[in-house]
């Protein structure tokens, strides 16, 4: 009877040990959950990096490159049509978005492939494809608006509004983004020259490095020769973008001006100031009494030896520090 009791005792111990053994080594639910959380965290981080890149860097670069091409395309388009734009914002948006103007592709008109594979739609599709192929995410990009403006004389500020939606298997991102970018206008065609000379006189924007109080007849000669531009504080000249719509009024923040080389226009002798926005704009015509020939009388450093018929108005004669030795009234 005593041996039977021992058997029950050992059986009880065996069952207890087995129970402990099973409890210890049964897979715990939190271990599985932790593993899943780690995988999810990794994936969310990957997609989040992608979203940040698209929001903060990709569209900034796209806006800058496509915006530059769109502005240059519009200048060349004006050269081909010989007409100013009536609505720069609408034209810019259509060109940068689709590469068209008035629903017609702009590249065949300009003869330059500036917008080919270079529109906002093209670049949006490229990043959508890359996101799908690389991270298996569904990206939706809706462009709301794009515009160009100027707050400084030598730069164009671009802004872009878009809706960005990214859907992955684990999380979704949905943002309304405002992207901004800036590029310099140096190297771009001045449409005002192209229109007014029917494309005969092409002048690319290039900034003069002469300080405002260092002008003299020698620097003016170089200024005409190089076709450079200058901005004066409280300028009465139009900005670069205003030249696209023939808005010839003052832009105190951003007005830029250049001298027209009389050797490159016909007729070269005109009774007007040879500032670009004055020579071709009737609203800036001045009475002959206010016009000066920047001549080269013997012993002076005048300009007519190289730029015959070059004239300036009274204000600009003073602004560029040209003395009465070189400046003679056009109508005595």
């Amino acid at each position: 009877m005593k041996y039977h009791k021992n058997g029950i005792f050992f059986t009880f111990i065996s069952i207890t040990i087995m129970t402990i053994f099973i409890l210890v080594f049964t897979p715990q639910s939190d271990v599985s959950l932790q593993k899943d959380l780690e995988s999810t965290r990794t994936r969310v981080n990957s997609v989040n990096n992608y979203v940040n890149d698209v929001e903060n860097r990709y569209f900034e670069a796209v806006l800058r490159v496509s915006g530059f091409a769109a502005i240059e395309s519009l200048a060349l388009y004006m050269n081909k049509t010989g007409l100013y734009l009536t609505d720069l914002d609408a034209a810019f948006y259509e060109v940068i978005l689709n590469g068209t103007i008035n629903n017609v592709p702009i590249d065949p008109i300009t003869g330059e492939k500036l917008m080919e594979d270079n529109t906002l739609v093209n670049w949006s599709n490229k990043i959508i494809d890359a996101g799908r192929d690389t991270l298996n995410v569904n990206t939706t990009i809706i462009i709301n608006n794009a515009s160009a403006s100027q707050t400084t004389p030598w730069d164009i500020d671009l802004s872009l509004s878009l809706n960005l939606t990214v859907k992955s298997g684990t999380a979704d991102w949905k943002n309304v983004e405002a992207v901004t970018a800036t590029f310099g206008i140096e190297g771009l065609d001045d449409p005002y020259y192209l229109i007014n000379t029917l494309g005969e006189y092409r002048n690319l924007v290039s900034m003069s490095n002469i300080e405002f109080n260092k002008w003299n007849i020698t620097h003016v000669r170089e200024h005409i020769r190089n076709g450079t531009y200058v901005h004066f504080q409280n300028s009465i000249a139009p900005s670069f973008l205003m030249r696209f719509t023939n808005t010839i009024s003052n832009s105190s923040c951003c007005g830029i001006e250049s001298f027209v080389n009389p050797n490159l226009i016909s007729p070269s002798d005109r009774i007007d100031s040879y500032l670009d926005y004055m020579l071709w704009s009737p609203i800036n015509d001045l009475p002959c009494e206010q016009i000066y020939n920047i001549t080269n009388p013997p012993g002076s450093e005048g300009l007519w030896d190289e730029f015959r018929h070059f004239k300036l108005d009274t204000n600009h004669t003073l602004l560029y520090n040209i003395t009465d030795v070189d400046a003679k009234k056009a109508c005595p």
Binding site: N6, F10, I13, I17, F21, V24, F25, D36, E38, S39, T40, T42, R43, S46, N49, Y50, D53, R57, Y58, A61, V62, R64, V65, G67, F68, A69, W123, K126, I127, A130, G131, D133, T134, L135, N136, S168, G169, T170, F183, G184
Partner: protein
């Protein structure tokens, strides 16, 4: 006397059982210790791609790839704001693959421990090593663990307005050399890839195990339809 001997027998039996249990526990826990390995390799592949995309040329001190270094003097690097990954992308986009290989080799020096090998691919083109040796290929095929990290990169040809290159898909593969293969994930990438390409994702849960399809999504970014 007989009862005392039986007592010894049962004590010895219990000790023997305990010994077997301890050995069993030890063996089982030994296998659990192996699990951190994939995390380490995964971290390495993530770290390498984070390092390449986060470090800019101007912040990278190297006689070869840094500012004023060999490539800078040769005109191979022109934009100091480029990240190392963007610089590789620029080399790739201009078809300077030899320079890209040397650049990767140089900038990754010391980032990946010696016992690990790695590859860098751009848009399914291997840039490093450009021409893998047989030993390298064998090491990859024989590796215990092989993990990949992916990223998208893009950039401008210079800092102004000329041209954008990309977006390119960048893949970094990292593995430990000279070990036998061990499953590091619940699913196999080849199974997930094939299922997606053949449109058989829906059958994965039936064929393999419940939850297999969505694990494919989490672990390899395939078969994600219907997984939240």
């Amino acid at each position: 006397m007989l009862h005392k001997k039986r007592g010894y027998f049962f004590v010895l039996d219990a000790l023997l059982g305990l010994f077997i249990l301890v050995i069993g526990v030890f063996l089982i826990t030994s296998t659990y210790v192996e699990t951190p390995k994939p995390t380490q390799v995964g971290l390495l592949s993530d770290s390498l791609i984070d390092f390449l995309s986060g470090k800019t040329i101007k912040n990278f001190n190297s006689p070869y790839a840094g500012i004023g270094g060999e490539l800078w003097k040769q005109g191979g690097i022109t934009n100091e704001e480029n990240s190392l990954l963007q610089q590789i992308g620029e080399f790739y986009s201009t078809n300077r693959l030899e320079i890209a290989e040397k650049f990767i080799q140089n900038v990754s020096n010391g980032v990946i421990p010696d016992q690990f090998s790695f590859e860098v691919w751009f848009n399914n083109v291997i840039l490093y090593p450009k021409e893998p040796s047989l030993e390298h290929k064998k090491s990859k095929s024989d590796s215990e663990l092989l993990l990949t990290s992916k990223r998208i990169t893009f950039g401008t040809m210079n800092s102004t307005t000329t041209k954008i290159w990309g977006p390119y898909m960048v893949e970094v593969f990292v593995w430990e050399r000279g070990t036998a293969k061990v499953r590091t994930t619940f699913t196999e990438q080849s199974v997930c890839t094939n299922a997606e390409s053949l449109g058989l994702c829906g059958g994965l849960d039936t064929l393999y195990a419940p939850g297999y399809k969505c694990s494919c999504c989490i672990e390899h970014s395939f078969c994600c339809a219907g997984c939240s």
